[in-house]
């Protein structure tokens, strides 16, 4: 998977997304992973059947810039990550406040690493 993956910094995320959208890339989705030390976000994009992934490392406490102002469709993926990992997105077009898939009674983030999981909120 390494040959079609580019690692970028969180501060370059919006600029990169603007650039790939101008090139005609279709937004495919975001995969989030808790490494145990930080969060890793994989932004998947497609152009003429070629899938390219941008990999962004973010600390748990950092609010990631939302890409919904560029790709509106990212709202379903960002809300899901917020639900399941407790990661905040800054400028999210439609914010379900952690209740996109999760019920009101759920007070933890089910896909966060157990050792780093807080009951609610950041670090």
């Amino acid at each position: 998977m390494s040959d079609d993956t580019t690692r970028i910094a969180a501060k370059d995320l919006l600029g990169t997304m603007k650039s790939v959208k101008a090139q005609g890339y279709r937004f495919v989705g975001i995969t989030a992973r808790d490494t145990g030390e930080r969060m890793e976000l994989l932004y998947h994009l497609d152009l003429d059947f070629a899938l390219h992934t941008y990999r962004v490392d973010v600390p748990y406490a950092l609010a990631v810039p939302s890409v919904t102002s560029i790709y509106f469709c990212a709202l379903v993926y960002e809300n899901e990550i917020k639900d399941q990992f407790g990661l905040e997105f800054e400028g999210l077009a439609l914010d379900f406040e952690g209740r996109y898939l999760m019920d009101q009674e759920v007070t933890s983030f089910p896909l966060r690493h157990p050792k780093t999981i807080p009951a609610k909120g950041g670090e």
Binding site: A32, F49, L51, F72, C73, R99, P110
Partner: protein, 357 residues
């Protein structure tokens, strides 16, 4: 004055629960805000308690319509990670069952669409034809929906020549039945009135909003992941079905034509079914990360799998086609009549259990 009308989660045209808050002025919808979470099961997190072999059964249960395709792409991921090449016969048998799943999924959708149009006789006919495919599933795999034919390394059931002949005969019956009802779907006044020009999404908007599957192809984009030639598809002749209208009628037409295409693909696959083993024995544990994409009846399905040499995977991520088609749906609804909302929602063929996992 704007009024907010709740649509769903229980609604006569919805087979699964999704809720939309519809902001309407008079009878015209101004905005739709979705709410999900009614059938979320947390299946991705089961990698912590089920090993990578057991996860085949879990992924089959992501969707009750295209269960076989979920398990097939999951196995593809693990096989890629472990460097396993499955026998050509196993790969082609996966195509046969995948296309049978697409066929019964599209027939189910055609029936539900007819029901949404208020055309009950057409619903009955669609379901009657679909039943033939369900019988094929039962006879070849022992089950109607969750057929459990996939294992890491291939498939667990073979089709002998008698079964192949019988399947081809059943496909003839399905084709005849589909031909009989096609003109009702394509030319009937009621169907056209309820679907033409309804829920329009142009090509650029469909691409911008990340639409997939018949929703994307109904807007004139020739993108079908089967064109990548994964599994046995590389051996088959195949052209994506594309319609230019971008409305509910075009999306219906894509699915109707794809049903015929699936019949042709099963015939081709059985005609080219190689001799040999159907599976290889797999040793070891998956290590590394991989992304695989396949074409599900509703569109592109993406699986991300990461393993670290343990029996449990580190991460399984499932991006289903309905998830991708939610943003396009929100763009289709504003400006439509309130009475058209059920048809538009149905036109993306929403699979909510898939979406929420």
């Amino acid at each position: 004055m704007a009024t907010v009308i709740p649509f769903g989660p229980q609604h006569p045209v919805l087979p699964e629960p999704i809720h939309l808050k519809l902001v309407v002025e008079d009878e015209v919808v101004q905005q739709a805000v979705p709410a999900l979470g009614f059938v979320h099961r947390g299946l991705e997190s089961l990698v912590d308690v089920r090993d990578f072999h057991q996860m085949v059964q879990v992924t089959e249960r992501v969707c009750g319509i295209c269960s076989m395709i979920h398990a097939a792409v999951y196995c593809q991921c693990i096989e890629e990670l472990m460097g396993v090449e499955i026998p050509p016969r196993g790969a082609m048998l996966r195509v046969v069952w995948s296309e049978l799943h697409r066929l019964h999924s599209h027939l189910l959708w055609l029936g539900l669409a007819a029901d949404a149009f208020g055309f009950e006789a057409l619903f009955m006919q669609s379901m009657r034809i679909r039943e033939i495919i369900m019988d094929v599933m039962e006879k070849t795999a022992g089950n109607r929906v969750i057929i459990s034919v996939n294992v890491v390394g291939g498939v667990r059931r073979d089709l002998d020549s008698e079964q192949q002949k019988w399947i081809l005969a059943q496909l003839d019956r399905v084709q005849t039945g589909l031909q009989r009802i096609s003109s009702a779907f394509l030319n009937e006044y009621t169907v056209q009135q309820r679907s033409k020009g309804i829920g329009a999404l142009n090509r650029d908007k469909a691409l911008e909003l990340g639409a997939v599957g018949p929703t994307l192809r109904g807007s004139g984009v020739a993108q079908d992941i089967r064109m990548l030639g994964y599994g046995g598809y590389s051996e088959l002749e195949f052209e994506p079905v594309v319609e230019q209208g971008g409305d509910s009628y075009s999306r219906m037409k894509v699915r109707l034509r794809e049903a015929f295409q699936s019949i042709a693909l099963v015939r081709q696959a059985l005609g080219k079914l190689p001799e040999g083993e159907i599976a290889v024995k797999v040793k070891g544990r998956p290590e590394g990360e991989v992304i695989q994409r396949v074409e599900q009846p509703r569109g592109e399905l993406l699986y991300y799998v990461r393993g670290s040499g343990k029996k449990n995977l580190d991460r399984l991520r499932i991006r289903t086609p309905t998830n991708a088609n939610i943003a396009p749906l929100l763009a289709m609804i504003p400006g439509c009549e309130l009475a058209d909302v059920p048809v538009i929602v149905l036109s993306i063929d929403p699979c909510i259990s898939c979406t929420e996992r």
